[in-house]
């Protein structure tokens, strides 16, 4: 089988993309994205509401929002709540992983 070498775009907190790009790859409408900005789920990297830019990591957040909205048939309020709770869970999981990495292996294994 042929192996094709392809360029991968790293979705991180350093690189920037436009609002239009988020719309294109997430499948959300402009108003949906602006709703997510208003509720603090997405944070633009600049302060210009007419021409927002985002860290490329926001693509992942927007795609998750689209999946949750479609798969659970959520309205804007339900979606914002679900996303906030997910974000909180991720924060707690990350803190737990961080604490686990610092303690003795016997403690980690419980």
């Amino acid at each position: 089988m042929t192996i094709r070498t392809v360029e991968a775009v790293w979705l991180n907190t350093s690189d920037i993309c436009s609002l239009e790009h988020i719309i294109e790859v997430s499948g959300l409408a402009r108003d949906d994205i602006l709703d997510l900005v208003e509720t603090g789920i997405l944070t633009p990297s600049n302060d210009d509401p007419g021409n927002y830019f985002f860290h490329t990591e926001c693509v992942v957040v927007a795609r998750t929002a689209r999946r949750l909205r479609d798969d659970f048939e959520l309205d804007a309020h339900g979606l914002a709540l679900a996303m906030k709770l997910l974000d909180r869970i991720q924060g707690l999981e990350s803190e737990l992983a961080s604490l686990r990495s610092r303690v003795h292996p016997f403690v980690r294994r419980g």
Partner: protein, 315 residues
């Protein structure tokens, strides 16, 4: 083509109502949705549930599915003659076709689907896959191969799962859970629609030596009692190769000795640190001479490690 019993997947009888189907889907979606579930195999289970729901909630797709009759789940089968003729395909052409894709194509051909006869552009399907990588690969930014069965339309508008292998470079410093987007490497589009994307979720495999905390690495460093008391220089393995580390005299267990900038690289050119967490180890089967020297030490030392513990004890 494998037969999938969609009713069984949703835990329903074949005469289930639309309300029953929706209720069963919601219940299973809450349990297995990959964004909310941590259950092992949840993602695959949800894919089956979503596929079953997408078929059974659509009356045309459901009717087409029901017309296939009941078969044992997982049984290999070839669609009926009229379906084959409809797509101008030979029986063996269906081997790499998914049942859900066939039903979608059939429903669309009947005029009910999104793809209908309008010929409007349809974007290709996006995919998300886990990409297991090692700490070494992330540290150095290595290349790795990933294989995926990509859906590709044939001339009749039927999706075939075509195996493809892509070679990607893991960015130096990619973090756990971050995604790599491979533009246009998902499913093919239809009627001029752009192809979908392939998303790779970075999953860093546990390492036998190091534990990862964001950009910092933690390593257990065993020391002998005399190294801990007297101090010295020991060799410590790092991802960039072994380095010499100075152990200060009087080093106690659990002390974390930092090796600056020996951790993981970050996206913005930063570098984490490596922390060596001290463990004091002892010779489990000391030689006669070691035992003798420890006995001498015990006889002359006034050090009491439990002084604080026993401070309030009655004589």
């Amino acid at each position: 083509m494998k037969y999938i019993d969609y009713y069984q997947v949703l835990g329903l009888a074949r005469d289930a109502t639309q309300a029953d189907i929706k209720k069963a889907y919601r219940k299973l979606a809450h349990q297995y949705h990959p964004d909310v579930s941590k259950e092992a195999g949840a993602e695959d289970k949800f894919k089956q549930v979503a596929e079953a729901y997408a078929t059974l909630k659509d009356p045309e797709k459901r009717a087409a599915y029901d017309a296939l009759g009941t078969r044992p789940a997982g049984e290999d089968f070839v669609p009926p003659r009229e379906w084959r003729e409809h797509f101008h395909e030979a029986p063996q052409d269906f081997e790499d076709v998914d049942l859900a894709d066939l039903l979608a194509a059939f429903a669309a051909a009947q005029g009910g689907g999104r793809r209908g006869r309008t010929g409007q552009p349809l974007h290709g399907q996006d995919f998300e896959m886990v990409l297991p990588v090692s700490l070494e690969q992330v540290y150095s930014g290595a290349e790795t191969d990933i294989s995926v069965a990509v859906p590709d339309y044939d001339a009749q508008g039927l999706l075939h799962r075509v195996p493809r292998t892509f070679r990607v470079r893991i960015p130096k410093g990619a973090a756990e859970g971050q995604r790599l987007r491979l533009p246009g490497k998902g499913g093919s589009g239809l009627h001029g629609g752009r192809p979908g994307d392939l998303y790779l979720v970075i999953q860093i495999s546990p390492h036998k030596l190091y534990r990862l905390d964001k950009q910092d690495l933690y390593l257990d460093l065993p020391l002998s009692p005399w190294e801990a008391v007297l101090g010295g220089t020991v060799q410590v393995p790092t991802l960039g190769g072994p380095v010499e580390m100075t152990i200060p005299p009087g080093t106690v267990a659990d002390r974390k000795l930092r090796l600056a900038k020996r951790g993981m690289p970050g996206a913005n050119g930063t570098q984490g640190d490596l922390y060596a967490a001290v463990r004091i180890d002892v010779p489990r089967t000391p030689t006669e001479q070691e035992r003798e020297l420890f006995s001498q030490l015990a006889a002359v030392s006034g050090y009491d490690p439990r002084a604080q513990l026993n401070a309030g004890k009655q004589p």
